[in-house]
Symmetry: C2
Subunit: 194 residues, 2 copies
């Protein structure tokens, strides 16, 4: 990333990243400013502007870290249960008082900045690919027809959660999550998703 990765630069980078996440968790995307991140991190404002450019840059960077850490793909032996687990994980993530605002901020930022949008796109591409494993296993067990598009099954399952959160602004319950997962399960079994 930078030409001098060691020592001071690394400290600055980590301090800013941590401050960004903390601000996002407390204030959400609307309250995130370069100035506050600079103060909180102890790094000078101009430095943040030079290396990250803007609020969107801070978020794009934070997203890069988020993409690194893998998530637990369930393997219960049942396709329906696996899908339910995945969707519930998403739903609970947004309900979490710390992780929720941060995840929300990522989506909101991507709606405004091309950079953040690309980062988020890559993030979800990786997630879909990982989660599609449960579909591959279901195909092997004969629960789901061969040729089923695994990533698309995941999209179908989680989409209603995001739809409620970011489009219609309706509350989301665990029941909603389970229902969405089950609908995707039925559709996949019927061979509609290919």
């Amino acid at each position: 990333m930078e030409q001098r990765p060691g020592g001071r630069s690394a400290r600055v980078r980590d301090a800013v990243r941590q401050a960004t996440l903390a601000e996002l968790a407390e204030q959400g995307y609307g309250g995130l400013t370069v100035e506050n991140v600079a103060i909180r991190s102890g790094v000078h404002k101009t430095t943040v502007y030079r290396r990250w450019g803007s609020v969107e840059g801070l978020i794009a960077d934070a997203l890069g870290i988020a993409r690194e850490e893998p998530w637990p793909i369930p393997d219960t032996g049942s396709f329906q249960e696996d899908l339910r687990e995945i969707v519930l994980l998403v739903q609970r993530g947004f309900a979490d008082p710390v992780a929720g605002p941060i995840s929300t901020a990522f989506v909101t930022a991507a709606a405004q900045s091309g950079d953040a949008a690309r980062s988020l796109h890559d993030f979800f591409t990786a997630r879909h690919e990982q989660a599609a494993e449960v579909v591959r296993r279901a195909v092997e067990r004969g629960e789901v027809p061969a040729g089923t598009d695994g990533a698309e099954v995941i999209r179908m399952a989680v989409a209603p959660i995001y739809y409620r959160l970011f489009v219609t602004h309706e509350p989301v319950t665990e029941h909603d999550a389970i229902r969405a997962a089950d609908a995707a399960t039925v559709a996949a079994r019927a061979g509609v998703i290919r």
Copy 2:
């Protein structure tokens, strides 16, 4: 809304609304500023700030108008066809060079402003209710089990479109729309959505 609805106030209101939509269509949400709307409409900046408050206020107002105009609910005689029509209508709406940016701006604005979020919520509540008509007819025909949640079927059908557009930032094709509609059709027939 205002205590003096006639004459000048009405002209101001209409000019600002029209300018808002024009700016949104051309510039999108990112390029929408109160100042530009003021200039374009010929109304003074201060006046726009007083009556609409901010960019979000302009959008919340524009959404109010959008909610008024009803949309065509299909009645092809086939549940599957009806659902496909609805989802394709949504997909084509976003692909449209004029309506697309405006719709996108609504969603983006709602992600940041509580007022816009409430307006959008009401908007979609009305849409879901209207579109649920196709499910009611399907129940009458015996295509779908009684007790099926009509609004939820609509959510399931359109959610993947919005998910791709606003969350993962993936391209959306007509094929995606049809597949999503068909998946919702299968799930509804199976009695999973209630």
